[in-house]
């Protein structure tokens, strides 16, 4: 699979990363290099090998259903560029 400039532009848009038009060829080339490495990895025969999800054997940590957090409206909103009446205020988004 090869990534052309328009695919690179689309991926950048979906990720909300601004990429100037003249930087797109280099970005597409980098994507292709990465995909090239992955193609190389795909040559390894992993038939019957369980995917490794952790370096040490671990079980997903669980929490009990207890309210232990919250009540910190001021802290939650502290970094917001704009907050009003306890809400984050953002430019209007309507469907």
């Amino acid at each position: 699979m090869s990534i052309d400039q328009s695919t690179a532009a689309r991926v950048a848009k979906l990720a909300r990363i601004k990429v100037e038009e003249d930087a797109l060829p280099a970005l597409a080339a980098e994507f292709n290099a990465i995909l090239g490495f992955i193609e190389q990895l795909e040559e390894v025969d992993v038939e019957g090998v369980e995917p490794m999800t952790s370096v040490t054997p671990q079980r997903l940590k669980r929490r009990a259903d207890v309210v232990t957090d919250g009540d910190q409206q001021d802290k939650v909103l502290a970094n917001a560029p704009d907050a009003r009446e306890g809400f984050f205020a953002v430019p209007k988004v309507v469907e």
């Binding site: 929490r63 309210v67 957090d69 409206q73 306890g86 809400f87 984050f88 953002v90 209007k92 309507v94």
Partner: protein
Amino acid sequence: MLDLTFDTPKPKVIAGARQDWELVIGMEVHAQVSSKAKLFSGASTTFGAEPNSNVAFVDAAMPGMLPVINEFCVEQAVRTGLGLKADINLFSAFDRKNYFYPDLPQGYQISQLYHPIVGEGEVIVEMGEGIARQVRIERIHLEQDAGKSIHDMDPAMSFVDLNRTGVALMEIVSRPDIRGPEEAAAYLGKLRQILRYLGTCNGDMQSGAMRADVNVSICEPGAYERYQETQDFSHLGTRCEIKNMNSMRFIQQAIMVEAERQIRIVEGGGKVEQETRLYDPDKGETRSMRSKEEAHDYRYFPDPDLLPLEIEQAWVDDIKASLPELPDDKKARFMGDFGLTDYDASVLTAEVEAASYFEAVAKGRDGKQAANWVINELFGRLKKEEHDITQSPVSPDQLGGIIDLIAKGDISGKIAKDVFEIVYTEGGDPAEIVEARGMKQVTDTGAIEAAVDEIIAANPAQVEKAKQNPKLAGWFVGQVMKATGGKANPKAVNEIVSAKLGQQ
């Protein structure tokens, strides 16, 4: 004992300008897990709190914060799966669904695309006596809810509240087995009933605790049967997804409106585009959500913050052992044990609280009579006040007491209604009320005879007429009842009047 023999309902047929069309519907129902804390944080799930007060830093996606799964939410998903007779996957895993929206601070929703916790199950949706649709469940996965945007507080800004962000949802995905708007509403209703029995979701559609995305397509008659034989989707039309519906009425309207739109396109020689649409109940139309289309490439990948979720069969077995009796079984048992009709059993099992109430009343009493009192008198009275069964001022013991008084012959059915009204409005023990207010039925035949003799003596003309026309005996019965304040045993009065008038 569960009777699974039923006929399938006829699919909805819509007449187009050129030919008939059938509907094919699949639904994705989002059910909020009734947990105290969120799926991956310790913030509260309470509805209607101050904005952004139920928010942990995990929910606000502050850098460096890590999700830790709420085990209770996992248990509820398993419970729901078992309740829908579905396969439970001991291995499941979480993936990131990436998109940008102001009410999604992470920039992704943690969901389960590749390895959902629950696999295939089924729901039996009754569409009338002996008629039901079997709707296959494809999967149930756990995922995070998004926050809430409010658009009407400021002309230029949208306000975002993250209280709902990260609340646990179960997405219940059906196969395209639903064939009409009424079936879609009934399916949602049945699902809601089962979830409420299980206690895994409160089913409150108004607060958004249950909402549905509805996939609608149209096909020519016969095409759906070919799909069912082959499971090949190419026999079906292109579907459109109507997002975020939380009213049974609007779901039905939206399906019809959308089907008619698709029929117009196809009959006009056009092609239906697969897309996400919104229903506007004010305008009675669905419209494209173009912004969603742009972002439809969600670039799912396994969430590196979360190990796979591995659960043990023994735990699943424990949950299974703790399942309550489910609506279908309860209804069948009510019909079998208490001799109730299909209709009465359905009404009484609609809500688990009502079913428990009925059972408490029916215990050791006549089931049909208990059903009549609960449905006709109690439900009727509660409805008048817009109360539900949990708000009933009459306890099962009190209602049972009234029924016992009828059975003993202490009061007639008519007086029993008066006693019921007193218990409903004033409370108290039915037997004591009957005693204290002298409402007891007169079964003493001597007293009744005396009353009958008095009426006969006072109305010689009527007696002559009644001798010619036996039907007039009813007039005497009425007079005696009136004279005794309705307390005379009607059966005894009837017999004595007939005897005195020489009709026996």
